[in-house]
């Protein structure tokens, strides 16, 4: 049981895909100008990651090694398309706001990376936990970035305007702000990880 718990929490902080391993950056900064977009992207990515890891782990005996990359691509692309179609049908406004970044989930390095290095070699339950952990780790970082950027840049929280116009800093809603906030978060994550390790704790 402990082993499964560790698998899950791994993706949340210690091996957080965005802050530590630093993959899958593409979609993360572009959509985080407001919180709904951030959550939407996080959940969409988690869905594709989860389904892909389950499929590939489940079929790992049936995927020949030499053509595994194209097969991975086919499976990931299929689930990305499913997410794209479902979002166009049930959340058209969100789908439009995210634009090309939903199809770009298919080249999200996190999914390719985890599928290749983890679920191709592990069992289905382990893959499920890994996917959920990584997906959640991705989503919470996106949420933090979006909350900061939406609050400072547009003065709102989940669309409810809080800050009056004079206190907003447009910098954060635009591209340079995204880079900046992300850089600061990485620095904080480094410091936190170091502190955890320094305390001698393998949590």
């Amino acid at each position: 049981m402990n082993k499964y718990f560790k698998l899950f929490t791994n993706g949340l902080l210690k091996e957080n895909p965005l802050l530590v391993i630093m993959i899958g950056l593409c979609s993360s900064l572009a959509v985080t100008t407001n919180i709904w977009n951030g959550i939407g992207m996080g959940l969409a990515m988690t869905f594709v990651l989860l389904m892909s890891e389950i499929m590939i782990s489940g079929f790992r005996k049936l995927i020949p090694n030499s053509i595994r990359i194209p097969v991975f691509i086919i499976i990931i692309a299929a689930f990305t398309t499913i997410v794209d179609l479902v979002m166009k049908a049930y959340t058209p406004a969100l789908s439009k706001a995210m634009g090309v970044f939903i199809p770009l989930i298919v080249v999200n390095c996190i999914i390719m990376g985890r599928v290749e290095s983890f679920s191709y070699k592990r069992t289905v339950p382990e893959s499920i936990l890994d996917a959920l952990g990584m997906g959640l780790g991705y989503t919470w970082v996106l949420c933090v970035i979006s909350i900061i950027r939406e609050f400072l840049g547009a003065g709102s929280f989940f669309g409810m305007v809080i800050l009056p116009e004079q206190y907003r800093v447009g910098f954060f809603s635009q591209s340079p702000g995204g880079f900046f906030v992300f850089g600061m978060l990485i620095a904080i994550a480094f410091a936190v990880n170091k502190a955890i390790e320094g305390r001698g704790g393998a949590k």
């Binding site: 630093m22 993959i23 899958g24 950056l25 593409c26 979609s27 993360s28 900064l29 572009a30 990359i69 194209p70 691509i73 086919i74 692309a77 299929a78 990305t80 398309t81 794209d84 179609l85 634009g99 090309v100 199809p103 770009l104 298919v106 080249v107 999200n108 390095c109 390719m112 635009q174 591209s175 340079p176 702000g177 995204g178 880079f179 900046f180 992300f182 850089g183 600061m184 990485i186 620095a187 480094f190 410091a191």
Partner: protein, 192 residues
Amino acid sequence: MNDLVKIFLSAMLIENVVLMRFIALCPFIGMSTDVKKSTGMSAAVLFVTVLATAVTYPLYKFVLIPMNLQFLQILTFILVIAALVQLVEFYLKKSAPALYSSMGVYLTLITTNCAILAVTFDVIAKGYTFAQSMTYAVGVATGFALALVLLAGIRERIKVAPIPAFLKGTPILFVAAALLAMSFGGFAGLIK
């Protein structure tokens, strides 16, 4: 001709794919360690982008649309890109083995380069003609190269600069990228 120039400049500077649209960040951070590697990577990306657009555009217009198979766009486009990258790898291995070995795994990683897939999708979404699509592809790849080489140059300086411990490593890179992005924001009024 005029609108081709507009498309090129807009793709390369005003809507720079990395600095303004946040696309292709992984190689941006991962491959910009020195200027030489950056130029090599950029050349490969330019080649694959142009080729990919040249193949996927007619594929969409003459196969997917007539057969009402637009929902297969994601699947077919990425497979085309993967196949093209394989071809490029094959060709490089044979004709320029030194370059091939110096690029290593990053050559395969071009498949997951968000910029290439983004370009193939953009030209369809924007309704460009074939010539406009090619111009757009070259513009985007040049913009990518520009951003990459600029950051590589900055990185070489950062190596010998006194950086506060809090920001050492990747964080300072992102701050540098933020500053670069701000300067590229200045191109906004370039084209009326």
